[in-house]
Symmetry: C2
Subunit: 187 residues, 2 copies
Amino acid sequence: MPEKVELEVPLMLAPVPVVLVASAHEEFGQNVLTIAWCGVDCSDPPTIHVSIRPSRHSHRMIKESEVFTVNFPTSDLLRAVDFCGTVSGSLGDKFGPAGLTPVAAKEVKAPLIAECPVNIECIVRDIIPLGLHDMFLGEIVASHADKAVVKEGWVDFSKIPLISFVNGEYWSIGEKIGDFGCVVEKT
Amino acid sequence: MPEKVELEVPLMLAPVPVVLVASAHEEFGQNVLTIAWCGVDCSDPPTIHVSIRPSRHSHRMIKESEVFTVNFPTSDLLRAVDFCGTVSGSLGDKFGPAGLTPVAAKEVKAPLIAECPVNIECIVRDIIPLGLHDMFLGEIVASHADKAVVKEGWVDFSKIPLISFVNGEYWSIGEKIGDFGCVVEKT
């Protein structure tokens, strides 16, 4: 067995997707926040979450509007990603300075981000306070992708260099290495 | 703006980490299950989740034992990953057939998996029923990594070819492309 060492700081999983979370609010307008604390929670109803600190401007906007969108930035948007994760929307519009374009979604009032090749619309089903972060559980009510990256009705992830995050580092995603069920099919 | 198309099936995020979830139960012994529905939920207390269908053998084991471990397989373990995600532990031991070795954890009764270079110990803080899946919220109480992949007290992810999952496909992770705060530091 390989020698194991205990880490002093808790390890927050492995590289996880980096997403741009967009929101809209009657009083505050539109906002965008970079989030890595997200994940899949349930297949049916299709549910994902984003975790946000109560002190963040987006927290109040999403809590009160009860909708958000999840948009997947590509590596050419790394500057925008870092900007939207470190500067508060309470200081003013972030879309313009980040070079991002909000466009109307189909089912929710929060905008999609045009420059992101994949966009998911969510309705907040629950907000679970956990400590430093509150978890916003969102049911997916619509998913979109750039026509150029859709193949046979599905997203061809080999065409979009997405970004992941671990321990303060941004990472690229790699290549397809297999299909679910490949062992069972073979044996 | 690029032309967008709506997807007929909800998009469950982008490639997300694939983990081996290990459990232990007084009556049923030890078990291991492959999970991709996981994510980071809160930084403090450090909280991650795994979502499991109530019909899975691991569901009852973790619900009753209130602990689990999250272990990160590398691409050379793809056969074990696929096997442990498609075959039920109720049919018998999966560790042996999968070529995986359970070893004692530090804080919880669920085992670590020796072949996985990174291991996280969790205590169940809540179970949230969402529909097809129940979300097990786990507080991280200890993290371990193979000594060979630890650099300055932290995991060097460039040394471990982890696996992610999207839409029935296994993917590799890529390369580091930047640091959090790189924009703010420069501007």
